[in-house]
Symmetry: D2
Subunit: 276 residues, 4 copies
């Protein structure tokens, strides 16, 4: 069996020794091991991939008793995550995810697709996945979100992936999925927060355009950043051309972020990510 162990807790001497000792006593092979200490906040992070036989409850117990009381400990088998993908009308991110999913490259099972429009139904149907169009027209935000939650209840996803979902989520909604909603924002955050980032970028005359994958928690575009990248642009591009050119960097940044999250490499701490 292949397990992933994630620990974070206030730093103290001997943590690596303790944890590696427990793993050794279980006779596990360490495939990969990374630690990081945030010296500003005096906090310890560790991620291990181990192979071997394990009584998970027993191991968890041993770790809990050796580590500080307020330690966060996750220990589970390495496996694909269950997700639901959200989109609106743009195809490039969801197209990329569906191709990867079809060929088993995405480290997740897409259980369903939710959209507030019907534009992508035909395309998604090719991949034989449940497609829920939940229109928001003439509806209060909460009413719409409760319909969405109704669909999600059937699937119990571990993560929601917003693949160009053009709606703002309420804190009430996001509170159900703390650090479990991943969004792709079409700018190099924190530049150009909010709507129409490419129009903002064009107006400012920037020479780079970017994309940011982040968790969505309370405030729009202010959640922990997972990964970012940029491409060069110049005076030849108007806002529309920038938006087109940005598609590729958006889809690759989102895909890279999902690899990290689904591989259990991402810790959230103080509204930032530690990626081991």
């Amino acid at each position: 069996m292949h397990y992933i162990l994630k620990i974070d807790c206030p730093d103290q001497k001997g943590l690596v020794h303790k944890v590696s000792g427990i793993l050794y006593d279980f006779g596990l092979n360490i495939v990969e091991n990374e630690e990081f200490v945030d010296h500003v906040n005096n906090h310890f992070f560790m991620r291990s991939e181990v192979v071997g036989e394990l009584d998970r409850a027993e191991a968890f117990n041993k770790l809990s008793t050796s580590l500080p009381d307020n330690a966060n400990i996750q220990l589970h088998e390495k496996r694909k995550k269950d997700i639901v993908v959200f989109a609106t009308k743009e195809y490039h991110c969801i197209g990329d995810l569906l191709v990867r999913h079809h060929f088993g490259e995405l480290k997740a099972n897409i259980l369903a697709i939710v959209s507030n429009h019907d534009h992508l139904r035909g395309f998604c149907d090719k991949f034989e996945l449940p497609f829920y169009r939940i229109s928001a027209e003439g509806m209060e935000r909460e009413e719409h979100e409760s319909k969405v939650l109704g669909v999600l209840d059937q699937y119990n996803p571990e993560f929601l992936v917003l693949a160009k979902y053009m709606r703002i989520l309420t804190p009430k909604f996001t509170s159900h999925f703390r650090n479990r909603i991943i969004n792709i924002h079409h700018s190099f955050l924190p530049a150009f927060i909010g709507a129409k980032p490419y129009l903002q970028a064009y107006s400012r005359g920037v020479k780079l355009i970017g994309a940011t994958a982040h968790f969505v928690n309370d405030n729009l575009d202010e959640g922990p950043i997972i990964t970012q990248d940029v491409i060069h642009t110049n005076h030849k591009s108007d806002a529309k051309m920038m938006a087109k050119a940005g598609r590729d960097v958006e889809k690759i940044v989102l895909s890279n972020a999902l690899k990290l999250v689904f591989d259990d490499r991402v810790f959230v701490f103080n509204n930032k990510t530690i990626v081991l």
Copy 2:
């Protein structure tokens, strides 16, 4: 002789034909020629490098009469620009410029160096350039700037290069040098405007840090962007480490911007740059 011609004016049919005809009639060889039309604002930009013999006044006259009345026309010999460099305490940008200048790579003559501190005097003295320490201590901003202007009057520079000059310039000062002051800002503008961008970047948990070279006109950090670049960072870097890592991208971005400006490749229009 080697000349550079820059034209910008409202677009109309036949502009390239007219200008190329005048260049042809003078028997000039076109070394490089680039045009751009901003279709949003219907404005035409052109830059030509030509080699040959030329009566500059006559050529300028012919161009003026053929082109629209409100055309901006520059025609001058290709030559190094006269500049004054400003710095405060940080060495990486000015160090890079002085080495390039020493070996004739910088397309400019550094006439003098101005600093509000004395930290860099010893280093600058190695390169035998006039170094003016003009302290701002206990002084109103205008008083300090008038002292600086006093020094600049001796040199009559075409461009001022702010190589990590840690003072805000008043609109009164910058009005003397419209589109002729080049600053390096230590972030990917418009993210992290103002002071301590690396601390802001660290606090936001970004995964890229950047640098922006721009002209300084009325408002701090809001002038036309010339060029930008970024490097990757991660959770391991605190604000101080980010600042150190950012030095290399800052000095290269500044140097790249200066190449473009001193090569007469940069047009400013609507607070943006067109780089031909």
Copy 3:
């Protein structure tokens, strides 16, 4: 109507003036215009996008008579190109192309897909495009290629796109499509020519892996390079992980190259490309 004009010929004075004069006489609006002179070989390149009404034959005639005898002149309407896509077993490049094609982003019509294996048939069938499996098993190279040519004859494609087609083409085959076959090679050419570039890259311990899109003419991997890019790698990646990581850069580089070629921006000269 929207036209694209491409010219290349030995350089001489006045070429821009002549061509822009002809365009002006036809009353055309120049949307975009770029020229380049290769001063090493004294050769002139020009690409114009123009809008207006035009008697194509008449315009072509005027250009021919004004330009040097050996000038290459192309003048045609801006339109999508007809292409056939080749693949073997890997899905990432063809998957990306089929999604772009489905949503009208690819500047080409995919007429058919050819593969020497059947692995991708199910996926391609989703997009309702003719899929030809032409097995090469137990066949001489020429015999296989003549079968492929038989299929191509039905479609008369302007370009062939090798989207990870794992077979070497004979000069006899490629001679039918000079500068019209585009390949994606999974390395930064000319490093790691030939088979298993990722294994070669791993063995050499490189810190970057790349992808190169190029035309295929006589010799494998030695045709004119259209575009290239790289991503960072490190000691953690073995050859297989490098191959996986390389997929995204391969598909983006291929897609970028196709945009340039299908937009008529690429000239081939002396086994290199000029991209205007």
Copy 4:
């Protein structure tokens, strides 16, 4: 005191536990800790930065007895390295190093500069470092190298940095400094091995030019790669312009490699580097 511990040995279970136990028993604070297992070759690598009081001999002894017999163990105080810099005529790499050194940023003490030409003497003299011009004219390679070794004997450097030193070193010479000579090669190795890489790059029509920092052991340009980077180029650049444009990436790549090496982050194994 601040120590750096580097270990590499055949992998076995429990290594992290053993080492971290020894560090814990000494009461050391772990500032940074990284491990890597090369699963292809079953080899373990570990680098720790620790702070505290230590009897170095005792600690080394404990580590030696706990680890496999053939383990490589280095344990020493964190401190600047003693180096000699080699150059020929080009100024950009040595210029960058001397500025960094002057301001204490280089994690090394430059003891002396060796050049086979006199071009850089004036510049180096500004920084008041011993400059040895050792001409190779009319001399056998071995004779020249023995003169160089004569100078090096006075300084006993830990590393030699070839900052654009345009001479090939014999295996006899390099054998004195195994994995202790760092070179900057002006291409993306293994593309364009040997002389005039920019001319080769221009002739091949590449769209990226690169730089590679590597250790120099037996064969020219075939030593372990430390780090690499590239910049974009295009048809506008001839070989000379590529060489100029490449200067910045060369100096930054060399500087980045030196940071890694002088920070004791680089292991050499199977002619590759592991960078922790």
